[in-house]
Symmetry: C2
Subunit: 150 residues, 2 copies
């Protein structure tokens, strides 16, 4: 169930969490940082697919087009997820967190795999807490050689 919360309620709840009044959180705050972490979650299975970054432009393009757009830190430009592989992310819902500094996008992952290594999720390596070694969980959905042609 959704319900809108009056500004006064949000404002007072923020004031509870510290001795100084905290600014009201009304949206992702790109003034704190030009790039905010954005978590992508499969809207049907709940699987956490990946984490990438958005600047304001990527965020607004995502809202406008309904396809998830990140900002690539390595390439220093907008990264329209799936533009090479075809595995785009269709936006189902966007959330921001209580501090306004992290985004959560719920998506339909076209092609079934978010990871360039062919797994549904980029988080396919699970750590053994006792040894810090890892095991690979899950199966490859696609062969990266075929999709990326390298």
């Amino acid at each position: 169930m959704d319900d809108t919360v009056p500004n006064s309620t949000l404002s007072s709840s923020y004031q509870l969490s510290g001795s100084c009044p905290m600014p009201e959180v009304t949206g992702p705050d790109f003034s704190k940082s030009e790039l905010l972490p954005a978590i992508a979650q499969d809207s049907e299975t709940g699987e956490v697919l990946m984490m990438a970054w958005m600047n304001k432009e990527a965020y607004e393009e995502t809202l406008r087009t309904g396809r998830v757009c990140y900002f690539s830190r390595s390439r220093q430009k907008l990264w329209r997820k799936g533009e090479e592989s075809g595995n785009v992310q269709e936006l189902q819902a966007v959330y921001f967190d209580c501090d306004g500094d992290t985004l959560l996008v719920k998506v339909k992952q076209v092609g079934g795999a978010a990871c360039h290594e062919g797994y549904s999720s980029c988080f396919f390596r699970r750590v053994d807490p006792a040894t810090q070694d890892f095991v690979v969980e899950g199966e490859r959905v696609f062969d990266p050689k075929k999709v990326y042609g390298k």
Copy 2:
């Protein structure tokens, strides 16, 4: 199903993704950045609860104790989640992503709420893509006034 992957397989899959051989990813890489984003997900419901940061010390404490420990950027010290509220996170599984620069922890959230505002998830504000306004989803699990006494 888990299956271990020989190093040679991982290594060659990394070489596929670019023209230069990429380093093999064998664990979270705190040499890239002292702090890595850590996503907490409820292991039972799949709800994404929060995103915070871990340094190597917090990561290793988490593995050792089975309780999630972050590094607080604002306080510049280890943050044993729930040490004030009692709402600790019991570790169920830890994953790292294909780049080795983001962590995913699956947790049992004691008290049912990860957010200091009393919601199960910190991502309780959903954006309306058309207006960029938000609505609050979900119900408060606890009253922050009672838990934090402020």
